[in-house]
Symmetry: C2
């Protein structure tokens, strides 16, 4: 009955350190010391205090604690869009690591808008955030870097933009990824290749392209590589693939800047009746979870997304404890090719074979 009454009073005041102090007959400072294992406190009184805290269902107010200690045990993650499976996977790595270290994670979707990004950073700063992980829009200018640093908050950048010099970063070896994809296709005997990619002013785009081209150049017999720039999306991949189908029927293998573009290309090829991989090979980039679920399963470049996220918080926490780093730290993860069913050895183009059977 009393229980029911209690319940009716919706916003029951939460018990504070004062309540615990009163309940156990000591000063709040003693309670604080007991709960935080700081300074000496008689084991017996300590037990008494802990019991009282338990009884009152006491939870320390982290805002109050943060106000005096100066850290809020909260990390911020600013990404373009959590709906992008790449970021979702990374975000999970971030959250797991953060949580494990006792930090909360506040999630911010910037859509890569510089203004929105700035707003988020300000907002995070004003809540006394302990560190921020951000995948910065386009390339970061030195003055912007200074602004970021002026907050005095540890920051780590994802997918290090080009030209960063003072901020720490964690990224993957995009160059190597492009090179792996190209080499693989070459090894399969393809000589007419195409790259479907995004705008070149993005560091990632430029690097993957560079790696891809490097593999072509290091091949003895001068294979050709066509490069199409467009939208880094499903639709972008779809459109560029159609362009390929109509204008460049000779290409037998395509590498896309990411998996989603590969999905778009796959759709176009299916519509055009060009069978993958028999008639045309496709290699993606990211190894998004879905890439193994589709038909044919996508051969792609794997990036350790989860690990990258986890590493970013590790770095952040390190930065926090050693704020006067001589130089920023850059950590880059290796990538690898995962072979599935969307690419195969080059053979003479099918239509020709079918139309002109040799007797």
């Amino acid at each position: 009955m009393a229980w029911t009454r209690d319940n009716s009073k919706r916003l029951a005041r939460r018990s504070t350190i004062k309540d615990v102090a009163r309940e156990s007959g000591v000063d709040v400072s003693t309670v604080s010391r007991s709960l935080n294992h700081k300074g000496y406190v008689n084991p017996e009184t300590r037990m008494r205090i802990l019991a009282a805290a338990e009884r009152l269902n006491y939870m320390p107010n982290r805002l109050a604690r943060g106000l005096v200690t100066g850290d809020s045990h909260t990390l911020g993650l600013i990404i373009s869009d959590i709906r992008n499976p790449f970021f979702a996977e990374m975000a999970r790595g971030v959250e797991d690591s953060a949580n494990h270290a006792g930090f909360d994670l506040v999630l911010c979707n910037s859509d890569l808008h510089p203004e929105k990004q700035r707003r988020y950073i300000k907002s995070l700063a004003s809540r006394g955030i302990d560190g921020i992980i951000v995948n910065w829009a386009a390339s970061l200018q030195p003055p912007e870097e200074d602004v970021l640093m002026s907050y005095g908050i540890p920051i780590v950048l994802l997918n290090s933009p080009t030209g960063v010099r003072k901020l720490s970063t964690v990224s993957m070896d995009n160059l190597q990824g492009g090179f792996l994809a190209g080499s693989y296709l070459l090894k399969l005997g393809h000589r007419r290749l195409a790259l479907l990619t995004g705008p070149e002013d993005q560091a990632r785009v430029a690097e993957r392209q560079k790696g891809f081209l490097r593999s072509i150049e290091s091949s003895g017999d001068k294979p050709s590589a066509l490069i199409l720039h467009g939208d880094q999306s499903f639709l972008g991949g779809y459109r560029m693939a159609w362009k390929l189908i109509s204008d460049h029927p000779e290409v037998s293998a395509v590498f896309t800047h990411n998996d989603v573009m590969a999905f778009g290309a796959l759709k176009a090829f299916a519509e055009a009746g060009r069978r993958v991989p028999d008639e045309i090979s496709v290699v993606g980039f990211d190894n998004v979870e879905i890439s193994q679920m589709i038909q044919p399963a996508l051969t792609t470049i794997n990036q350790p997304k989860y690990e990258i996220g986890a590493a970013a918080v590790e770095l952040l926490l390190m930065l926090k404890t050693t704020p006067n780093l001589a130089a920023p730290i850059h950590r880059v993860f290796g990538v690898s090719l995962v072979e599935r069913q969307s690419a195969m050895r080059f053979t003479q183009s099918f239509p020709t074979q079918r139309l002109e059977p040799r007797p």
Copy 2:
């Protein structure tokens, strides 16, 4: 030069309300009033204060403010796993709404572990969170509901578990979804149907199944419906589809509890050489983004994921302003069937036709 020096001193102290007060020659209380548009303050001194704040690049410390006002302008979202595209989409709706209303969002992945869930809730409570959105593991028992309510924090439940009575919820019409899927398949002329689904003790599973069965029952000519329970995953769908292939070759249409299971089924059918939709129709549930990218594009039940997320924060904010609600609010969103290419009109099974051509 002086600039360079300043920069070297990494953790520059952020300016506080005191600095602004000193700089503009007034008391902190006046600064506070000016900045918050509360109480009267002479327009001229106000301008002076604003200018000073601007000059010092003043950002109010939200921890301090939260400590006195009692709210932290932060919302919590507890879901099983952000890597699930369904939750990613919803989370985006939540974050956008929260951000729009001036709230930060802290993201928590519970993996549906009750213990982890409880820890998150405690942690959020101790940071003075303003509200929590959570998709509760399994069904919520009344005593647990009381515990949740005892925190005095507005809470809204996602995918309302069965038996919830005091907490507000937002969910979708799972029954209707199941019904739609079944009716559609029936309308296409299929009479041997199968449902590939998860463990029945989950509310969602039970409801979709119930809706599906209801459509079957309301059909005059007693079609058959086979129900397979298994893992609600790609692999689960894959395995159950194989079981179907070997044990029940007569079924011509399958409905899966979610899209990912449908992807698994699609893979199994491809491997078994059963063409979709010509030889077997498939309908999923969720309308995950990828479902339109695969081949064949998946016919599925759409849920307004983003809107559900947005509605959840709306509800939360409402709950916050009117804490003494007489009864909890339940909001349920409608679903709809989106017709794509994975299902088609029933025809005689192909093998028979092919093997016994009629003269």
